[in-house]
């Protein structure tokens, strides 16, 4: 059952954000609201799945010397496709994520998985790896965004959870809030891991 173990590892054991600490730039930037986090997570997961499968399939014909440029071409092509598809069919989400979609190209998680996993494993396991890593990335984004959105805006997925009288802690939504939230979450995860 290799398939499932590859899938599961990305969610908890090798979580790209909390454990591997990859892809910090989009994490810090888009976790201001749960909606943005979910959108970014799903867009990156889509690109990750497509690029992992393709890179795994072409590993036989890719000369090792130029593998990195080839990976970048594959990833950039998928990012551009999702950018255009979102602008056409999910305009609202595209507006709020706007700037971050092209940045998926340089998201280290995607290039990292291409180099560390997809280039050495078959397509099926690469798919499992991509789904797991994508889910782990999305989960991490949602967790960080949940804390920031509730503290900084009093809402969760645009639904009001704290009373109107609550004075939003604006710092949670600004850039420093991202670092503080992420720092506390990583500390918490290290404590839990240390106990085992």
């Amino acid at each position: 059952m290799r398939f499932f173990s590859e899938l599961a590892k990305g969610i908890v054991k090798d979580n790209p954000i909390f454990v591997l600490v990859l892809g910090m730039c989009p994490t810090l930037a888009v976790s201001t609201s749960v909606k943005n986090g979910l959108g970014m997570g799903m867009a990156a997961t889509f690109v990750l799945i497509c690029s992992n499968i393709i890179i795994s399939l072409i590993k036989g014909v890719t000369p090792p010397k130029i593998r990195i440029p080839v990976y970048i071409v594959v990833i950039a092509a998928f990012v551009t496709i999702i950018d255009m598809a979102m602008a056409a069919y999910a305009a609202e989400l595209h507006k709020s994520l706007g700037l971050f979609i092209p940045l998926i190209v340089v998201n280290c998680i995607i290039l990292g998985r291409a180099e560390a996993f997809a280039s050495k494993n078959n397509a099926l396991n690469s798919l499992a790896d991509a789904v797991g890593m994508g889910a782990g990335f999305t989960l991490a984004l949602v967790v960080v965004a949940t804390i920031r959105e509730i503290l900084g805006n009093g809402t969760w997925l645009d639904i009001r959870v704290l009373p109107q009288a609550y004075d939003p802690m604006l710092i949670a939504i600004l850039a420093p809030g991202a670092f503080i939230t992420l720092g506390f979450l990583m500390a918490l995860i290290n404590i839990i891991k240390g106990r085992k």
Partner: protein, 183 residues
């Protein structure tokens, strides 16, 4: 030498395939995107100045284009609609504005922005739009600059960008109409 030429050639093939796929997807999505944008703008214009037909006009040197709103039933001019653009905190903010024939703001709507969520992004709220209704050029300043627009908490830059861009655009519109002799 041959080896490197071969590497370059392989990379070229990868790029060519990727470019071909992208060209195909672009062909599919480009018309949908432009159609959607146009539809959005038409709908917004109708929200800002209801019950009107819009004709596209432009200033004498065609550097500025706007829409003249003509009432569907009476045929009189209801006002003008145009897009103003200003630089906010983290993005260019595009605002669609409707003014009446006395150049008082009827309604506005932000159509494009990427300001900080929770702060500047609040410029998309209806409550924010309502603040502009009925104001004329002289009132269109942020309260800190002596005007009637109350700035969004923590986002004065955003508020100022929107307000100033609208005011400047109204001035341009006035000039364009006087020069064109059509008022």
């Amino acid at each position: 030498m041959m080896y490197y030429a071969k590497l370059g050639f392989i990379l070229l093939i990868f790029c060519a395939v990727a470019a071909g796929i992208l060209a195909y997807v672009n062909g599919l999505t480009a018309p949908v995107i432009s159609q959607r944008k146009e539809l959005e703008e038409t709908q917004t214009r109708q929200q800002l100045i209801p019950n009107s037909d819009f004709t596209l006009m432009s200033s004498a040197d065609s550097s500025f284009s706007f829409y003249k709103a003509i009432d569907k039933s009476s045929g009189t001019t209801n006002g003008y609609a145009f897009i103003s653009e200003g630089t906010g905190y983290s993005s260019r903010i595009k605002t669609m504005v409707g003014v009446d024939t006395l150049f008082q703001v009827l309604a506005i709507k932000i159509i494009d922005q990427a300001e900080t969520p929770g702060l500047g992004a609040k410029c998309q709220d209806q409550a924010y739009f309502d603040m502009y209704a009925g104001l004329s050029e002289t009132d269109l300043f942020v309260d800190k600059d002596g005007g009637k627009i109350k700035s969004i908490t923590g986002a004065t830059i955003t508020t100022r960008a929107v307000t100033n861009s609208i005011r400047e655009q109204i001035a341009i519109l006035k000039k364009a109409l006087i020069a064109g002799g059509d008022k």
